[in-house]
């Protein structure tokens, strides 16, 4: 569900004056200026004003705001829950009692001009599919376009994103490659990790060389893209048969980093809710304490 012309509805806290629009000056008062009551696109405070108005409204309507994630709103009605997640002018919501979700839409329509797009199918570039088995999120189209953009769609597929026995290092002696190309590849792949935790580690390793990319690094990144090419249709499945047990898995290696004199260790971990990991992260450790 989207809030239409979101910014034009938001009341400004500060006194802001703008010029008269060019071509539409008031012939009698050409020196006059407009004093804004509501936000305009382009104003620094516009997104904030929009968020303020939406939250104030939701809190009035009996929602409570999330303690940690302040864009999450929950309302309890009897034994039922309505959950709404706000993303600027986009709202994802659902209720344990479906009729409450529909009531919520009607409520919102009274206050805001809304465009209802129905069941969640697309959000932030993620394709979402809700079935009786579960929810699937994928970036298949994005992945396909990405491979094509870098001209690797006809190249051979790779079965894994990275070789297990190659140690990446700064590789100072070999030839440098175009840093802009390297950056744009990493940037595109980083966005893909939203639905593809399987490439998160390899992209993370390659992104350490952004400042000074060499041929060996570019080869590694191209391999990731060729792997993506082989697996464009992979998606994350949130199974209906899940629980809400929070789990964390972590691992570390000892001085695995191949750079001379650094020999840093890597620590990584991922968090699971039920059967699906929602967060994957790796860091290079400066120091390591032996147990």
């Amino acid at each position: 569900m989207d809030v239409k012309s979101a910014f034009l509805n938001d009341i400004l806290q500060e006194e802001v004056y703008v010029e008269q629009p060019k071509g539409f000056m008031d012939p009698h008062y050409p020196q006059h200026v407009y004093k804004l009551k509501k936000a305009l696109y382009g104003l620094k405070q516009a997104p904030r004003a929009s968020y303020e108005r939406l939250t104030t409204y939701l809190l009035d309507k009996g929602f409570t705001r999330g303690q940690v994630d302040q864009t999450l709103f929950i309302r309890n009605q009897g034994n039922h829950k309505l959950i709404a997640q706000i993303y600027v002018d986009d709202i994802i919501f659902g209720a344990t009692l479906d009729s409450q979700a529909h009531e919520f839409v009607e409520e919102m329509k009274k206050e805001f001009e809304m465009s209802m797009i129905g069941e969640l199918t697309y959000f932030l570039g993620l394709q979402v599919k809700q079935t009786s088995e579960g929810i699937f999120i994928s970036q298949a189209k994005y992945a396909k376009d990405l491979v094509k953009r870098f001209g690797l769609d006809r190249k051979s597929h790779a079965r894994t994103p990275m070789s297990t026995n190659v140690k990446m290092s700064a590789d100072l002696t070999s030839k440098q490659v175009d840093p802009t190309l390297y950056k744009s590849m990493i940037d595109s792949l980083l966005y893909l990790t939203a639905s593809r935790p399987d490439i998160a580690f390899s992209v993370g390793v390659c992104s350490r060389f952004l400042a000074n990319p060499k041929e060996s690094h570019l080869t590694a990144v191209k391999r990731i893209i060729r792997y993506v090419n082989a697996t464009v249709n992979y998606c994350i499945c949130f199974s209906r048969e899940t629980n809400l047990v929070l789990a964390r898995y972590s691992n570390a290696n000892w001085a695995g980093n191949a750079d001379y004199r650094k020999r840093k260790s890597t620590s990584g971990g991922c968090f699971y809710v039920g059967t699906v990991s929602f967060c994957v992260g790796y860091i290079l450790l400066d120091k390591i304490t032996s147990m």
Binding site: L8, E19, V33, L43, K44, Q45, Q85, I92, I137, V273
Partner: protein
């Protein structure tokens, strides 16, 4: 010879454009847009929306205040076949001329994290409800 062949096509194209009152080009400057009826209509639409939403009031210039410039943005909206279906004129404020502490104090707006959206998906799966 070439222009002779192209001319009749141009004529037809102009007629089609005229018939649906939509401009096919995107002006860079407001002066260009003001030459074209459909863009003038689009600009009027935008200003009508401002008065409908009670966005602003005309006041005499308070000379001790920073006046922020405005700019017209012209965009053609097309359908999936690439046919122009709407001329959209949008008036935006030149936010870069704003001075912190005078024109604005707080600009921070919260944005949801992907992790929390994924958790929401998990929860909706577990509790078995649909998301909209």
């Amino acid at each position: 010879l070439r222009s002779r062949i192209i001319n009749p096509i141009n004529k037809v194209a102009n007629q089609v454009t005229y018939n649906c009152y939509l401009a096919q080009f995107e002006p860079k400057k407001v002066e260009e847009a003001l030459q074209d009826d459909s863009w003038v209509t689009a600009m009027h639409d935008e200003l009508h929306q401002f008065s409908r939403n009670n966005v602003w009031t005309l006041v005499s210039n308070p000379f001790d205040q920073n006046i922020i410039g405005t700019k017209w943005i012209f965009k053609n909206k097309s359908d999936e076949h690439g046919t122009v279906i709407r001329n959209k004129a949008q008036l935006v404020a030149e936010g870069y001329t704003q001075i912190e502490g005078i024109d604005f104090d707080e600009t921070f707006a919260l944005v949801a994290r992907l992790e929390s959206i994924k958790i929401l998906l998990s929860i909706s799966c577990h509790l078995g409800f649909k998301l909209y």
